[in-house]
């Protein structure tokens, strides 16, 4: 689903995405977007931040309350706080206008990829009060299920694939988002922050996902 108030952009992007093989639902404001989202099964939501009425952040948060569907946010400027605010509102990735629809298509594919669970040794992982069951896409804390978005889940599984190993942001960007070396480190930082609020007893003093200053993140065993 593409939420964009500029009709020309919406039409052009829709056509380009259709050429890439996607079916696109359109919405030109936040209210319609939420209504449409509830009626149609949706794989990915593409939201422009600047919308009339309910803005992109609010749409993002509303969708997040009920769904872990991947959300890609579109912004006119990359160096504003919009990016971090959007990611904190629940977006999985962002693109800066103007982007190539082929690039968007690649991003969507990366977001829809399932977490890698090729190694049978990590079929069931336990770290203190935290349990990860990659096959079922489930995470338990103190025995009760924690609800993670697909991206958060893949980030956690990636870290859990080698407990104790330090993952640089570059590596995480490449494995979780499919970005190269020059991806935006803020994607990782914001997602780590969100992940911590869900799986840590005290997110300010993380015990599972810890920061290694200047190097990256690791999952504490």
């Amino acid at each position: 689903m593409a939420v964009e108030d500029d009709e020309r952009i919406r039409t052009a992007v829709k056509m380009a995405l259709e050429d890439e093989g996607w079916t696109v639902e359109e919405a030109d404001n936040g209210e319609d977007a939420l209504e449409s989202f509830n009626r149609h099964p949706t794989d990915v939501v593409l939201i422009d931040i600047m919308l009339p009425g309910i803005d992109g952040f609010e749409v993002c948060r509303s969708i997040r309350r009920s769904s872990d569907v991947p959300i890609v946010m579109v912004t006119a400027r990359a160096d504003t706080h919009d990016v971090v605010a959007g990611l904190e509102a629940g977006a999985d990735d962002y693109l800066t206008k103007p982007f190539a629809p082929k690039e968007l298509s690649a991003r969507i594919r990366a977001l829809l990829r399932r977490a890698r669970t090729t190694d049978p040794a990590i079929a069931h992982l336990k770290f203190g009060d935290l349990e990860i069951i990659p096959d079922e896409g489930m995470v338990l804390r103190d025995g009760s299920e924690v609800h993670l978005t697909k991206t958060e889940f893949r980030l956690l599984v990636e870290l859990a694939s080698s407990p104790g190993r330090v993952f640089s942001r570059e590596v995480l960007l490449e494995r979780v988002w499919g970005y190269g070396y020059f991806g935006d480190g803020r994607l990782v930082d914001v997602h780590i922050r969100r992940l911590r609020t869900k799986i840590e007893a005290d997110p300010a003093n993380p015990r599972h996902v810890v920061t290694v200053r200047g190097l990256g993140y690791k999952l504490q065993t």
């Binding site: 400027r77 982007f99 020059f182 911590r196 200047g214």
Partner: protein
């Protein structure tokens, strides 16, 4: 507009002048006091000696008159019976004969002739003179009633008083010097106190220049200083408003320009997807459209970026990265895959603090520049030179003429090659952006000839090197990380220029 003071000559600083004035004032005052003190003391001291000498001379003369009435008394016994005082010389004269109490040190000839003449003429007199290097004051009293003597002289040495005065002079000079210095110090201190508000203004102005536009001076502490603080704050407010307005404008322009570009980019892609079904002429037209949409997009990006520089609205997303790894990644991502990246072993551990994506743009623009004007870069070299690392990009083109080596970093300048626009040539903002980016990274960029003196240009970007943490520190960080609440994000921060 620049306000200038009138004097064209270079003048001493305000503080130096204040200090000098204070010192000079103290020097004059203390010199005046010292001279007065010295003069008064000398007068008093000499007068005292003189008075004593006169008194003693008259009383002794009386005695001489009394004893002189006895004709059996000789001059020698007469003078021997006179009481002596420390430093006093006595001489009794009778016509051509004379007697001195201490004939070895002081005889009649030691007395000045004019004094003796006056006394001989029947007038008591006193006179200052120098004998044997010592100052004296002598009093002469004529004696008329006695048969033995005709005149009595008493000379008192002033050497002691002289020494006292010399000591006093030294003390006074010392005191004056100390007073002068104290005056200077007072001036220095007072001027510092007086100039302290100016320093605050300087610090505030520096802070504003450094990007902290909300810096203000405190108003109301001192009505005298508010004359400066109030207009200063008005200026700072106006500046801040202006920068805010510019930033907002840039943001709006950004949105307004990007939206149609988005439509163009997406539409061109749709057209390209069905390129094969188009007639040749339409394909050519599509290629032209596609290339110029790209160019236009780049132009808009560059213009927006440079307007952000001008508005001071750039926020760097600084990270500590290995320079060699970053350059290799950038060169390969930017399609310069065939360009060799050369560096020594010592460079492989060098860490720099950069905004990775902006720095990739720097390299992209330089590689792009080599593509456009010199048929592509031939090598990228990384060298460590003390506390800076230099990344140089060499090509085999015609090089850059000496006179143009600075100009090409100006906006919309294209050098003499500018005439030969290739079909997809840039708009001359690329190198200007490189320059701005490097400055924001505390580095610099320049162009020179190739080191091997072959034809071609060598663009060099220089970055300061981050000191490497020692292995122990890394270990420590790793252990302390879980306990540190602010460790939510790895070492990284946002800065504005």
């Amino acid at each position: 507009m620049r306000l200038r003071r009138h004097s064209p000559r270079r003048r001493l600083g305000l503080r130096a002048r204040l200090t000098l004035t204070y010192a000079l004032g103290a020097a004059l005052l203390s010199a005046f006091l010292a001279v007065t003190t010295f003069g008064l003391t000398r007068e008093n001291l000499v007068k005292q000696h003189e008075d004593t000498a006169v008194q003693s001379a008259f009383s002794n003369a009386e005695y001489v008159v009394l004893r002189g009435r006895d004709p059996n008394t000789s001059l020698e016994s007469l003078i021997g019976s006179l009481p002596t005082r420390e430093g006093a010389q006595l001489v009794i004269e009778n016509g051509d004969t004379w007697s001195s109490k201490n004939p070895v040190e002081f005889d009649r000839d030691a007395l000045p002739q004019s004094l003796r003449d006056q006394v001989a003429a029947g007038n008591p007199a006193s006179m200052r003179f120098v004998h044997d290097g010592d100052p004296y004051v002598a009093v002469g009293v004529p004696i008329t009633a006695s048969g033995v003597a005709t005149a009595y002289f008493e000379a008192v040495s002033l050497a002691e008083a002289q020494r006292t005065l010399e000591n006093l002079a030294i003390t006074l000079i010392g005191a004056s010097a100390i007073t002068t210095m104290a005056g200077g110090l007072l001036g220095w201190w007072a001027s510092r106190r007086a100039l302290a508000p100016l320093l605050d203004v300087g610090t505030a102005a520096e802070a504003i220049a450094g990007g902290r536009l909300d810096t203000r001076l405190t108003v109301g502490d001192d009505p005298d200083l508010d004359v400066l603080a109030v207009p200063f704050n008005h200026m700072a407010q106006a500046l801040e408003d202006r920068v805010d307005r510019d930033a907002r404008f840039a943001s709006e322009v950004s949105h307004e320009l990007r939206s149609p570009l988005m439509t163009l980019a997406a539409s061109v892609e749709v057209l390209e997807n069905s390129r094969e079904e188009m007639p040749d002429r339409a394909q050519t037209a599509l290629d032209l459209l596609s290339a110029d949409v790209d160019r236009f997009q780049q132009l808009v990006e560059d213009l927006l970026e440079i307007s952000r520089f001008d508005a001071g609205a750039i926020k760097l997303h600084l990270e500590e990265v290995l320079v060699a790894e970053m350059v290799i990644q950038a060169v390969s991502v930017l399609g310069g895959g065939g360009v060799p990246v050369r560096y020594d072993d010592e460079v492989s551990t060098v860490v720099v603090r950069v905004d990775k994506r902006r720095f990739a743009r720097v390299l992209a623009n330089l590689l792009d520049n080599a593509d456009k004007y010199a048929g592509g870069a031939t090598s990228v070299n990384i060298e460590l030179l003390g506390d800076v690392v230099q990344i140089s990009i060499e090509d085999e083109g015609n090089g850059v003429a000496e006179g143009e080596r600075e100009v090409i970093f100006d906006r919309f300048s294209r050098g003499s090659e500018g005439g030969n626009r290739a079909s997809d040539s840039g708009v001359g903002l690329g190198l200007a952006l490189v320059d701005e980016h490097m400055r924001l990274h505390n580095g610099r960029v320049w162009v020179e000839g190739r080191r091997d003196h072959h034809s071609g240009a060598r663009f060099v970007v220089e970055l300061p090197v981050m000191p490497l943490p020692s292995p122990e520190e890394v270990e420590l960080d790793e252990q302390s990380a879980p306990e540190t609440p602010d460790s939510a994000v790895p070492a990284e921060e946002e800065v504005s220029p």
